[in-house]
């Protein structure tokens, strides 16, 4: 007979449905994979920007160092800023101020390359 048997139509529909379910599962796993990749990149990006801010932001480092010196109220004997670091020499400074300054330095996220402390002087190099 020319007329298509409804059973065949039903079977064809079932096959198409099964195929679509298989494709759907594939697309779901694709979405999950892409989303997990996005979450992973997002976490890396947050960690990256935080680390960059903490250890790789030269302007931020210079600002923090200047703020610290100003807050302790000490006179700088020598201050040099090169491409890679800030060099600071402080002389004739009281032990109390040394304590305060060193505490502040160590409590900030600064890349300390050199820190020489004596009874009345500090010689410090901070990476930028």
């Amino acid at each position: 007979m020319k007329k298509l048997d409804p059973l065949y139509i039903m079977l064809l529909s079932a096959v198409v449905l099964v195929v679509s379910i298989v494709l759907f599962n594939k697309s779901i796993s694709g979405v999950e994979k892409s989303q997990s990749e996005l979450i992973n990149i997002n976490n890396i990006a947050l960690s990256y920007s935080q680390m960059k801010k903490d250890w790789g932001n030269s302007q931020h480092t210079i600002k923090v160092v200047d703020k610290m010196i100003a807050s302790v109220g000490i006179k700088i004997l020598d201050k040099k800023i090169t491409k890679k670091k800030i060099k600071i020499k402080i002389d004739k400074i009281s032990l109390k101020k040394i304590d305060k300054f060193v505490n502040k330095i160590l409590n900030e996220k600064l890349n300390i390359l050199k820190l020489n402390i004596s009874n009345n002087s500090i010689d410090i190099e901070v990476g930028i």
Binding site: M1, K2, K3, D5, P6, L7, I9, M10, L12, S13, A14, V16, L17, S20, I21, L23, F24, S27, I28, G30, V31, S34, Q35, E37, L38, I41, N42, I44, A45, L46, S47, Y48, S49, M51, K52, D54, W55, G56, V102, L106, K109, L110, N111, I112, L113, K114, L115, N116, I117, S118, N119, E125, G127
Partner: protein, 311 residues
């Protein structure tokens, strides 16, 4: 048995007592006993509209349960309508020793024989011992008792079958055709929904690389993962070194506040400490520092203890 050629198919007249021995394809002309026919004058323009109204129109005359319908337009607002039982036709085909796969098309004798059967029931046309005649325009099977004039057999071979035909199908014993269509419709709807969802998912997947790119731009990250990892590694190393450095300082300052003594100097450079203490027991200091750190040197000279530490 009547066998006539119509193109490449045989035309067969099917009635309840038919019996054939044919294997090739056939066209069937149904005897009036297989259908109910009625002419309606309806204010409808298309046979399709009439078809939808037929169940309620036939309801008055027959039990419409399990019946299918067919409409032929005769004139404006005048239609000849058929009701038939598919199962009865299938049974008739089977009892005539035919299979459904042989049947090409099924026609109504009312339509096909209209032009050749005499228009009066008094004149009977014999086909396979069945008398047919028209009564008020409707083809009927004439009882033998009423046959007044019997003409010769109708030459069906000269009949060109009309385009008006029906098709029948054998429904499954497990599921009805209606339910099959219903299930098919539901499955197709599900399929459409699933494909729509797949399209949405594909759009999500294709948008992820753009989101990653904008995330990288937002956080000023290098475009390549290798470069990012390299910078991250370097920064992590710096972070770990600085944490260690602060731990050592804390340790040294804790010692000083715990055991006293004077710290002459504490120098740090290139991951190495050089600490000088005065007025302190060297052994105590060494023991204390050795618990946590590796000492590179420990020298006592003129009451000054010099300790070298590497991180």
């Amino acid at each position: 048995m009547n066998i006539f050629n119509s193109k490449d198919k045989l035309n067969l007249f099917l009635h309840s007592k038919s019996s054939f021995d044919i294997l090739s394809g056939v066209n069937i002309i149904l005897s009036p006993e297989f259908y109910w026919v009625r002419v309606f004058e309806l204010p409808m323009t298309s046979p399709k509209e009439v078809h939808s109204a037929l169940p309620s129109l036939f309801e008055e005359f027959i039990d419409i349960e399990g019946k299918d319908f067919y409409v032929k337009k005769l004139a404006d607002q005048k239609y000849i309508c058929f009701a038939y039982d598919e199962h009865k036709i299938i049974d008739g085909i089977k009892s005539a020793n035919l299979s459904l796969s042989q049947v090409n098309s099924i026609h109504f004798a009312q339509i096909e024989l209209e032009s050749i059967v005499s228009s009066t029931a008094l004149t009977c046309m014999k086909i396979d011992n069945i008398c047919l005649g028209f009564s008020d325009g409707i083809l009927v099977q004439v009882p033998i008792q009423l046959q007044v004039n019997t003409t010769n057999n109708i030459d069906i071979s000269s009949i060109k079958l009309s385009k008006h035909f029906i098709q029948v199908r054998e429904s499954s014993k497990y599921i009805t055709a209606k339910n099959s269509y219903l299930l098919s419709t539901i499955m197709i709807l599900f399929t459409v929904m699933i494909f729509a969802k797949i399209l949405i998912n594909n759009q999500i997947i294709s948008s992820i690389p753009n989101e990653i790119e904008s995330l990288k731009q937002e956080h000023s990250m290098p475009s390549s993962t290798i470069a990012t990892n390299s910078i991250m590694k370097k920064l992590k190393k710096t972070s770990q070194e600085q944490i260690k450095l602060r731990e050592v300082y804390k340790y040294i300052f804790d010692f000083k506040s715990k055991y006293g003594g004077d710290m002459i100097s504490c120098n740090y450079k290139n991951k190495t400490f050089l600490i000088k203490f005065k007025n302190i027991k060297a052994k105590k200091l060494v023991d204390y520092l050795e618990k946590r750190h590796v000492l590179s040197s420990a020298v006592v000279k003129e009451e000054i203890v010099t300790i070298g530490l590497s991180i």
